[in-house]
Symmetry: C2
Subunit: 148 residues, 2 copies
């Protein structure tokens, strides 16, 4: 079992890293059109059900969502929790590793502000906070997300 499972790990995991560059490694994890949106939703909401993700404006399809949640969980960026009141619901939330992505999302928002129009209201509000005190905003938000 030990041997079999580690063999399986070796054979099945596509962890033939292209390089040790952290940009490259990061892209292999969340370098697609959807992963960071899942992470964004969790930054805003702290906890989401599967259905919450499906409700997001960008309309991820359900099979892609399931696949992304699985790899993000495997890579320990998010974790599953049991729902306090319902057995049929599942809660997802960010781990420390996931929460630490916040500064990246903040910088993407700042870049987006410069080069895109018609930002959503919640982004405008967020950016207003960020520009008053970036470090403070990040600390505050990380504390809010912190695992209890």
């Amino acid at each position: 079992m030990h041997f079999a499972s580690s063999l399986k790990f070796i054979l099945m995991s596509k962890d033939k890293k292209r390089s040790n560059c952290p940009i490259s490694c990061s892209l292999e994890l969340w370098g697609d059109k959807w992963s960071l949106l899942i992470i964004r939703d969790l930054m805003f909401a702290k906890q989401c059900t599967y259905g919450d993700f499906l409700k997001s404006e960008e309309k991820i399809s359900t099979n892609i969502l399931a696949a992304r949640l699985k790899t993000l969980e495997q890579q320990m960026v998010i974790e599953k929790l049991e729902h306090p009141t319902s057995k049929s619901k599942v809660l997802y939330q960010l781990t420390k590793k996931g929460i630490d992505i916040l500064p990246i999302l903040v910088e993407i928002n700042l870049w987006g502000e410069k080069y895109y129009d018609d930002l959503p209201d919640r982004t405008i509000a967020l950016l207003s906070d960020v520009k008053k005190d970036k470090k403070g905003f990040i600390n505050k938000t990380m504390k809010k997300l912190d695992i209890d």
Copy 2:
């Protein structure tokens, strides 16, 4: 010609944005496994030829490289320059819009430092600078990249 080209623009450009969220918009532009590596190379080198990109450790395939360069140029993240001494070479460099991605790359590097091992030497050197004075590093690097 006016009508035809704008019609073509309307029909061919896949600019049906999923949403106005800057995260989502950014991902539609460089949310793949390769674009940010091209941008990274240009942040380090200021100017690269087509062949320079192909030489990078991650070994992008030539058709993907051509496709990414084209869309990054269309989106005005990079621009083409003629090579000072050779007619057969082409130089690529970042525009202001591209240079402004630097803070995002810096944060990805900082995140990567926490969660990956065996970082390349140049990343370690970069991070050492960044951690002494993040704003200073970004200003310095942006100035270095600035279009002459």
